[in-house]
Amino acid sequence: MKWILDESEDQRRDFEMKPRERVTTILDHREADRVPVIMCGNHAGISKGAYEKLCRYIGMTDSSTQIIDRMQQIVEPDERVLEKLGIDFRFIYSKPPRNWKPTEYPDDSYRDEWGIRWRRPPNGYWYDMVDHPLEQANVEDLENYNWPDPTDAGRFEGLEREAKMLYENTDYALATALTGSIYEQSWYLRGLTKFTFDLYRNRAFAERLMDKLLQIHIAFFERFLDSVGKYVQVVFVGDDLAEQKGPSMNPETYRSLVKPRHEKLYRFIKSKTQAKLCYHSCGSVIPFIKDLMEIGVDILTPIQVSAAKMDTQKLKEEFGDRLCFLGGVDSQRVLPFGTTDEVRDEVRKRIRDLAPNGGYILGAVHNIQPEVSPENICAMFEAARKYGQYPIKFAQASRDPPAAVA
């Protein structure tokens, strides 16, 4: 494929934005000095396995590994790693509650705050659900269930100070980790088959369960955003609505039952902060995008380009004037199995498709999994720095006929 590279690269480096300014400019659909990048948080971050290899590769042997998401085995990268890769974001996480601890079992399983048990198979990368505590519940049981306490003071301890410190003493864009799932949390509690059945044939239960979760999330975000709302630029929320081939739930079901609850939560979040709202859903989410934009979503992530119809050029054309994109670098094939050259081509393609006129933050599609080599991670961020300089000079090349694809 022919790439038209900008020859005046050195001149453009004369003006360099600070990460926060870069991110806010991009999120306002304007071009910055270059495309911002992300590799942190619990849904745009990096797994323990990939991170440990990366640290060895870049010669940082004294880095500790701090897990920030046990189920997914996601770590918070060391500040030095983030700096080295030029990551524009830093994340703020709520703290563990004071009055609750997970129940641990000898088979490498645990019960979470919602009462769901998760087990990791030997050599597994993450934990999977092994039971669904509300599987047999009826509507009345929902009232008596032992729900997590969203207002537990432990969750917010020291948060405001931390956020203020990051805001005032660093130039990074600040984001809050993904939480607030309504549909997914419902089926985690109920089991997918049972909850799908509820949505069609037992609506009173489905609606009551989702209302309970909405209530809990609003109570959480109220306090959380009281602490950090004025310091953060991006709030992550999400609910997986799609799979590899297309929607996993009927878009009509989404519109009638889930969307109104998403809307209430997102409007509430936006009443508490100026931050942009970033919605995560894996899979081929095309039929939901307009709905999400209607209810206040500013940024879509992770842009699973390996799923059906997730063509970044078309996404940008159709929604790019109002919607920003975060992620996009293929993690199902290119990052784990591609060569560094393929990684660089992938980065250029996503920049070419998504970055013109701002509105794109580059990162892996979802968290970087353990089989991704450090060489490929470094190639991704080096290429992003090289080809992500504005103006994107090779943008026009996208109209060229594509090279033969194997």
Partner: protein
């Protein structure tokens, strides 16, 4: 004319008002009702139609293949054309499961051979079974006998069950790139036991494709549950 007087009303109301002595439903009408009920995910109507069909002495195997399976075909078509989604496949599977509960004892008594015996499971180390469960329901609803071994199934369990049930098809599912390698281990176990050649082996799950199936010596990889069902039906020689 008051409601219930017309022939249509009587047919729709079915056996609940005992009109069959007067207007016995043809087999086609009952099977049509069953098909419609599956497509509408109407569990009560499915149960009622199954009971009515049995009462009318329609052979159980025909109830399955000419009633429920026909409904399933429509659902498969709607899924393929993008009118239905994963949620509808789950609903269809659950709806048919209720019908199967009614027919299954009679099917066994009838002793009519199924379209084939399938051993299904999610491979060792992988606990993801949503897709595999849908496939199991769809295959049962299409007239296959299915031994569902669940999730986290080691190679020797696939082998044991394939030998025990004299299966024609082994289906393995994996969601993870790390666990799909276990499919190769299972293939090896089938080869070593000398039963590979009398079986068809099909793979399913996001990370697998035809190239991977070829690489490990399996016969096919399904793109999704509907595709998996179609491949099994083709192998069984049914249209």
């Amino acid at each position: 004319m008051k409601k219930g007087d017309s022939l249509i009303d009587r047919l729709n109301l079915g056996s609940s008002i005992g009109l069959f002595e007067v207007f016995p439903m043809t087999n086609e009408v009952v099977l049509e009702r069953l098909k419609e009920a599956v497509v509408k995910f109407d569990v009560d109507a499915v149960k009622e139609a199954c009971n009515d069909a049995l009462q009318q002495k329609i052979p159980p195997y025909e109830i399955l293949t000419e009633g429920m399976a026909k409904g399933m075909e429509i659902i498969g078509e709607k899924y393929e054309t993008g009118e239905f989604f994963l949620s509808e496949l789950i609903m269809a599977g659950e709806t048919m499961k209720e019908g199967m509960k009614i027919i299954e004892p009679y099917l066994q008594a009838e002793g009519k051979s199924s379209k084939g015996q399938v051993v299904l499971g999610t491979v060792e180390g992988d606990l993801h079974d949503i897709g595999k469960n849908i496939v199991a329901s769809l295959l049962r609803g299409s007239g296959f006998g299915v031994a569902d071994l669940g999730a986290d199934v080691p190679p020797r369990r696939f082998l044991e069950e394939a030998e025990k049930s004299n299966a024609q098809i082994v289906g393995m599912s994996a969601l993870l790139t790390t666990t799909m390698v276990k499919m190769a281990d299972t293939m090896k176990a089938l080869v070593e036991a000398g039963i590979r050649d009398r079986l068809k082996v099909i793979l399913g799950g996001a990370p697998v494709n035809s190239a991977y199936a070829t690489k490990i010596g399996a016969d096919a990889a399904a793109n999704d549950a509907i595709d998996g069902m179609a491949i099994c039906k083709k192998w069984a020689g049914v249209p």
